[in-house]
């Protein structure tokens, strides 16, 4: 049994993005469901007992909402395909300048199925990101961000931690309205709470900025301005190239040069920039997460899924995007299933997470007490 430790946050995000990229290549509901199950299995096995780790359930719910909304939009506005009518909604004839937009009318099985596939794909991508979020908090990812990008990273992380705080604030202020004898739900309650919530958020960000400044954030180093500019250009250029490359890889029908080659160029630029930045940075890092065999295994698992899906698309394109008109029962392409199986291996190959005893204050549930003893 290996010693429990935190896996490098970058490995988790790379793995999860691999799953997400794979999901974007298919509309096969069986494969998408398998991807969700894989993500859930790994999250269940390797999630820390920290507050941010509870966000996975939220992402699952959000996924369901996306599917429902997608189908709703299709039913109300989408053009009907196929002939199997499920329900007949009263249609509204729109003026001629809105030709092509349709309201109501026949709801066919085929169009609902198509919307379901589409919504499921989007939901799966989102759930994969949610999995990364609960396996490694964005703040931990920040620890591995290259030094030159650090300041950018901080603002992103601060924004991300503020969102949950806003939700709690809105909640609290809505309940407080009851004390004034006002309605504590509904649009008026939200409107009434909006200004105080934003004021509170602003005050908090000013307080945080003051605290960070007093603790030495942004101290001048010995770097010259031109060297710093060069690193930033290399890093940003690399990032942009990575984005284009990733898009090229994901979007079907884009030219080959925009895919892997672009991604490679981006990665090279980013690495060069990061190395240069690391050499000049005055910041140091406390206990950086090491990158060991387990990290390589998790990264490989993520890549395996992507390559398996690319291969499957080449071998069995029909199975990856099952026909909805006429509707056929989707088949399971063997290569893709093998890839997903490999994608689930981090549930065993990654090290177990250390116990944080992160019980919400002042709870001491018997289970954690026993675990601590």
């Amino acid at each position: 049994m290996r010693e429990p430790r935190w896996l490098h946050a970058g490995a988790w995000w790379a793995w999860a993005l691999g799953l997400a990229a794979a999901a974007s290549r298919t509309t096969n509901p069986l494969l998408l469901s398998l991807l969700v199950v894989t993500a859930a299995t790994v999250v269940h096995a390797r999630r820390p007992d920290a507050p941010w780790a509870r966000s996975f359930a939220f992402f699952l719910r959000l996924g369901v909402v996306i599917i429902v909304v997608r189908i709703g939009v299709q039913v109300l506005f989408g053009a009907a395909i196929g002939t199997t009518t499920l329900v007949h909604l009263p249609g509204i004839v729109l003026p001629s300048f809105l030709a092509g937009v349709r309201l109501g009318g026949d709801v066919t099985f085929e169009s609902v199925l198509m919307a379901f596939y589409d919504g499921l794909r989007l939901a799966t991508i989102l759930i994969c990101v949610g999995a990364a979020n609960s396996l490694a908090s964005p703040t931990r990812l920040l620890k591995s961000v290259p030094a030159a990008m650090y300041e950018l990273g901080v603002s992103v992380v601060v924004a991300m931690t503020f969102t949950p705080q806003l939700v709690t604030d809105v909640d609290r202020l809505q309940t407080t309205r009851r004390l004034r004898g006002r309605a504590s739900s509904g649009p008026r309650a939200i409107a009434g709470a909006a200004v105080p919530v934003l004021e509170g958020a602003l005050e908090r960000s000013v307080a945080l900025a003051a605290a960070m400044d007093s603790r030495g954030y942004g101290r001048r180093g010995t770097t010259t301005a031109s060297a710093r500019r060069l690193t930033v250009v290399a890093l940003l250029g690399g990032l942009v190239a990575c984005c284009i490359g990733a898009y090229g890889l994901v979007a079907s029908g884009s030219p080959f040069a925009l895919g892997l080659p672009m991604l490679a160029v981006g990665v090279l630029l980013a690495v060069a920039g990061a190395v240069a930045a690391g050499r000049t940075a005055t910041r140091t890092r406390y206990r950086p997460d090491p990158w060991r065999v387990s990290e390589w295994l998790v990264l490989a698992a993520g890549l395996a899924v992507v390559f398996a899906f690319l291969l499957a698309q080449w071998l069995e394109p029909a199975a990856m995007n099952p026909s909805v008109d006429p509707a056929v029962w989707p088949s399971l392409p063997l290569v893709a299933v093998l890839g997903i199986t490999l994608g689930a291996t981090p549930a065993w190959t990654s090290p177990t997470v250390p116990l944080t005893n992160a019980v919400e204050h002042p709870t001491r549930s018997p289970a954690t007490l026993k675990a601590a003893a």
Partner: protein, 557 residues
């Protein structure tokens, strides 16, 4: 270590400087206490030490502030981070990372220390502040006292020679406050750190201070001196000092220990006398009833089988650790919170079934952040909205505000009021509907002594007029002053419920200073002792007396 050389600080848009000609020197290894009323410029003084004023806040600074030889005019806060560590008032607001260990390392990472040094210092600091078991914990899951200690540790790892703290114990229960002050003591004595702290709760910190800086806040110069000298004539003083002045002890004791040694003759004098207690009306009506109440958040029970009954004219104090369930109980009494087992009744009906004016006429709660109640952009608008909400005569709320806090102007934005003024406005808004049952959650957080004394008188008058009052608080001195009964909660259960003088004197944690000094006799406040010795009562503010309107009888509907 710290030199203020004729410093005058003026914020833009104000007609008078906040600090005038401050000229003082703080030597190395001293614990310095900064006192003064809310808004007097204490925080400005503290923040000038590391250059947040004026680099971060704006404004102009005339004169010089030197810290360890560095002039803050040429060194912004980040360049002073290795010399001065600042702990903000709300530690949570200053946390950058999300676990204890990372937070401790953050400052050192910014300073660019070598990894081995960082590792060693984190371990040392974890031990020094007793945080070793918490190292992996997410910051959000910590209790108030733990958060405060992490915030101190987070600046300590950079090995600053100066530590600046803004009200480090104001939000803490007595136990957690002891914890934090003990840690500060160790730093001053063992490591020679210079500590500068602002605190309203003098009774907690005055005994540890080497020097006191009084910031009067009205343009007069700041006073600097030994605590004993300053306290001799200070207008605000903790009970131990007031008792010492009353009894004419010399030298003036600052700690309970010193006072007890001097108190022998006073105790003899008081034998056979009894404190004059406020009479609770005999024909009291039961206004609140809680029976076997259990409240759960998820799988965790915040309250377990709690029973409580409150009668008119009674002031009940709810005490207990941070997170013991005090706020949950108050919330349940106004019908806020998750589904519950058991019964809650206010004035004969379940609060969860009431809403609007019908609720307001039975029970009112002033929450922990009184500002949460205020949504309007001016005080006058707020008062008009309150009259509408409570369905009462236009002008009712404004008249209450005029009585309780005559210095508040109509056009002020509620956020621009001082902490104490905001509390009083929120209290008026709640009182507009004349609820017979009044609940207050932590009303004295961040209040200075004069505002607290005023609140105490307001509460006593309201109780005399027949209101029942329940307040959740950590402030033992306020409890000794106003409460007839004390209920102590621990881990969601009632562990003590009885008359104040019995409950607080039997527990060292919740006993007020006078009780500790004069135990085994049951005296709680200096006023009681003075009243018994001189048969003279403390004067009651006549203006405040006017608000003691009897609560609406029988409630509407």
């Amino acid at each position: 270590m710290i030199v203020f050389d004729h410093v005058t600080i003026t914020y833009p848009g104000t007609h008078a400087p906040t600090l005038v000609d401050v000229d003082l020197t703080i030597p190395e290894g001293e614990m310095v206490l900064v006192v003064g009323r809310t808004g007097s410029g204490k925080s400005t003084l503290l923040r000038a030490i590391n250059g947040l004023v004026p680099h971060f806040t704006g404004g102009t600074l005339a004169g010089r502030v030197l810290v360890n030889g560095r002039d803050t005019a040429h060194h912004p806060p980040r360049e002073l981070a290795d010399v001065v560590g600042v702990v903000p008032q709300d530690p949570m607001s200053g946390f950058v990372t999300d676990t204890v260990e990372d937070e401790l390392a953050y400052g050192m990472e910014c300073l660019g220390l070598a990894p081995e040094v960082m590792r060693r210092r984190v371990e040392e600091t974890l031990d020094l502040l007793g945080l070793a078991e918490l190292r992996q914990r997410p910051l959000r899951s910590l209790s108030g006292g733990q958060r405060q200690r992490v915030a101190i540790g987070a600046v300590l790892t950079s090995h600053p020679q100066v530590l600046v703290l803004d009200e480090p114990t104001s939000a803490l229960d007595p136990g957690a406050a002891e914890e934090v002050l003990a840690a500060l003591q160790r730093l001053v004595h063992d490591l020679g750190v210079t500590v500068v702290l602002a605190e309203h709760r003098l009774e907690r910190v005055i005994q540890y201070a080497d020097q006191v800086i009084v910031v009067p806040g009205d343009g007069r110069p700041v006073q600097v001196g030994r605590p004993g000298d300053i306290m001799l004539n200070a207008p605000i003083a903790p009970p131990v000092v007031e008792l010492g002045r009353l009894a004419g002890w010399h030298p003036l004791p600052l700690s309970v220990r010193d006072a007890r040694r001097a108190a022998g003759p006073l105790r003899d004098l008081l034998v056979g006398r009894t404190p004059h207690l406020r009479a609770v009306p005999v024909e009291a009506r039961r206004l609140a009833l809680v029976e076997r109440l259990t409240v759960r958040y998820g799988s965790r029970a915040a309250l377990r089988d709690v029973s409580l009954s409150v009668a008119s004219g009674e002031v009940v104090a709810l005490m207990g650790r941070n997170g013991a369930g005090k706020s949950t109980l108050l919330n349940a009494m106004v019908g806020i919170g998750p589904a519950t087992q058991g019964r809650v009744e206010v004035d004969g009906s379940a609060p969860a079934t009431l809403s609007g004016p019908a609720l307001l006429r039975r029970v009112g709660l002033v929450p922990q952040e009184p500002g949460d109640l205020l949504e309007a952009t001016t005080v006058a608008d707020e008062c008009r909205a309150s009259d509408r909400d409570a369905d009462c005569e236009p002008g009712t709320t404004r008249a209450l505000v005029a009585l309780m806090a005559p210095d508040i102007e109509d056009g002020t934005h509620p956020r621009d009021l001082s902490e104490g003024q905001r509390l009083l406005v929120a209290l008026c808004v709640i009182l507009a509907a004349r609820p017979p049952l009044l609940l207050l959650d932590e009303p004295t957080r961040g209040l200075d002594y004069p505002t607290k004394a005023r609140l105490g008188r307001v509460l006593a008058d309201l109780a005399a007029a027949g209101h029942a009052i329940v307040l959740a608080t950590h402030d033992v001195e306020l409890v000794a002053d106003v409460a007839d009964r004390v209920v102590i909660l621990a881990d969601g259960e009632v562990v003590a419920d009885g008359p104040t003088e019995q409950v607080v004197t039997s527990s060292p944690m919740f006993a007020p200073q006078v009780a500790k000094i004069l135990s085994p006799q049951h005296w709680l406040t200096v006023d009681q002792v003075a009243g018994s010795l001189f048969r003279a009562h403390a004067p009651i503010d006549a203006a405040i007396g006017g608000i003691a309107t009897p609560p609406a009888s029988g409630a509407a509907g």
